[in-house]
């Protein structure tokens, strides 16, 4: 049990795992605040349920499928570590940077959870909860676990053979969730009254709270992906902060010009877009590179979220426009901005004189991920729809999934003294009442 391991790296990975875990409740609130008050609980429930079911699958076979010994060609991990039996006493990591394997298992689990939870944003307000439960289990098994192997396992084809660069999951997390969401949105079809009825966020402070927790947790996501407490982790963290901030600025600047108003939903969305785009890139680009990544992501994503109106898919909370598009932005910009000055284990992109090679590898990795995730998710969603029925009945959708499915109301402010009309007038301030 006291084999050779690096205690500082171990702390860093454990802390990072905690931070990433927190992102899913953060996402639940971020999403929950954006839907109407009659389905906020369902939105949160989809995330929390995902925390449960994906953990179960991960322990049983998911970790093994993603990180077990490769079955060949870098396509899938084998079933060598079912039930995490051997992980208790072993270590993983580069020489001198070994950490307890369970720390790595835990860290990677939190990625699996949030990737799956992200999908719920595409299908707000109209999903039968039991269908979500079945879907997410199959989806994690057939879509996420394999792609995680490609992108995160040393012997996965994307990293080990293609030599694409993806520091923290631009493919496995962002493009995967975005492309899968597109498939889901297409299978489920738009919400009743979409484009006609008001569907504005019911609780924006909740959205901003969620965004704050996501921002915080993303440091674990990105800098934790260094898996070591080294300058690389510091660079990844700094770059994450920069791109997130720039995404926020670029989004609100865009909407200030385009719509005439800088919005809080916009600044939150832009922050997420920036963080998404820097996810694959944070360990390969300079701070000024990260600045550019964030700016591009904020602008491009703020435009991309309008595509759904044009093409008629109701990706309700813009998983496609933010995560798929943002992930693509980041993956591609690596091919342009990466430099080995930042990370000797990386590569030089176009601007650093590395030619088009890395850019090509980035595109291949992105395209394969996108195609696989979209295709398989589409088939799974169709299957689940046929077997279980993916959509609520129109009546239930109108009444609201919270009450119908979960038998709960999110809020009950009635009768509290603050909910009445109250003309109040200050009587006195402290200390010097006579001054009033």
């Amino acid at each position: 049990m006291t084999g050779s391991f690096n205690p500082a790296d171990t702390v860093w990975v454990l802390v990072s795992a905690g931070l990433v875990l927190l992102m899913t409740p953060g996402l639940a609130l971020f999403y929950g605040g954006m839907v109407r008050a009659k389905s906020v609980l369902n939105m949160i429930m989809m995330s929390f349920f995902t925390m449960g079911i994906v953990t179960l699958l991960w322990v049983l076979y998911g970790y093994s499928m993603a990180f077990g010994t490769d079955v060949g060609l870098g396509l899938l991990g084998g079933f060598s570590d079912l039930g995490l039996r051997s992980a208790i006493t072993s270590f993983v990591g580069a020489p001198g940077h070994e950490i307890p394997e369970l720390a790595f298992v835990m860290f990677q689990l939190t990625f699996a959870i949030i990737t799956a939870a992200l999908l719920s944003g595409a299908i707000a307000d109209r999903t039968r909860f039991r269908a979500w439960g079945v879907f997410v289990a199959i989806w994690a098994t057939l879509v996420y676990f394999p792609i995680a192997h490609w992108a995160f396992a040393g012997d996965g084809w994307m990293i080990g053979r293609l030599h694409a660069l993806d520091f923290a999951g631009g493919t496995a997390v962002e493009i995967t969730s975005g492309a899968s969401s597109l498939a889901l949105a297409l299978v489920l079809g738009p919400r009743l009254g979409w484009k006609r009825d008001p569907m504005r966020p019911h609780n924006l402070p909740l959205v901003l709270l969620g965004a704050g927790l996501l921002w915080f947790g993303w440091f674990g996501f990105n800098a934790g992906s260094a898996l070591t407490a080294t300058p690389l982790a510091a660079t990844a963290m700094m770059n994450t902060q920069i791109a997130t901030a720039m995404g926020a600025l670029a989004w609100v600047a865009t909407e200030r010009v385009r719509d005439g108003h800088a919005t809080t939903l916009g600044i939150a969305s832009g922050a997420v877009a920036g963080a998404v785009a820097i996810t694959p890139a944070c360990g390969f680009v300079t701070p000024l590179g990260a600045l550019l990544v964030g700016l591009v992501a904020g602008f491009v994503c703020s435009m991309a979220v309008g595509l759904k109106y044009r093409y008629g898919y109701d990706d309700s909370l813009d998983v496609v426009g933010v995560h798929m598009v943002g992930g693509l932005v980041g993956m591609i910009l690596i091919g342009i901005l990466a430099t080995v000055l930042v990370n000797p284990g990386g590569a030089d992109g176009l601007l650093a004189g590395g030619g088009l090679g890395q850019l090509w590898r980035q595109c291949v990795a992105s395209a394969v991920t996108l195609a696989y995730a979209f295709g398989v998710t589409y088939l799974i969603a169709r299957g689940v729809d046929r077997l279980v029925g993916f959509r609520l009945s129109p009546d239930d959708e109108m009444a609201g999934v919270d009450v119908v499915t979960h038998a709960e109301s999110a809020y009950d402010f009635v009768g509290a003294s603050g909910s009445i009309i109250a003309t109040t007038h200050p009587l006195r301030g402290p200390i010097h009442p006579e001054e009033h």
């Binding site: 003294s417 109250a422 007038h425 200050p426 009587l427 200390i431």
Partner: protein, 112 residues
């Protein structure tokens, strides 16, 4: 037809609803209101600054009923809503020209 409007204390709503149902009325409309009257409000303090909140939470009931039920219903509602403390509320009665049930278009007596 008449419209009975009753302003009552929020926590008496359940009792009044039961009493009215027992009397045989199967429909009514309820809404939140704030009352200003003899019953005082309360004081709030935020970082030492005091505010006087002089409205108190109330519930408003509206029942469209036949004219001949009015007197009895007033009694039923008042009895159920009474706590004997200041602020128990008011009931007032207004003449109604006609009532329609949206679903069927039925009028007046058939509509309620």
């Amino acid at each position: 037809m008449k419209l009975i409007t009753a302003i009552i204390k929020p926590h008496m709503l359940e009792a009044v609803k039961s009493a009215v149902r027992e009397y045989g009325i199967e429909g009514m409309t309820v809404s939140e209101a704030s009352g200003y009257g003899r019953q005082g409000g309360h004081t709030e303090v935020y970082r030492g600054a005091e505010y006087q909140v002089d409205l108190v939470p109330k519930v408003r009931l509206e029942l469209v009923v036949q004219a001949e039920q009015v007197e009895e219903l007033i009694q039923v509602i008042a009895d159920a809503a009474r706590t004997g403390r200041i602020g128990d509320g008011k009931i007032w009665v207004i003449p109604v020209d006609s009532v329609v049930r949206v679903r069927t278009g039925e009028r007046d007596t058939e509509a309620v």
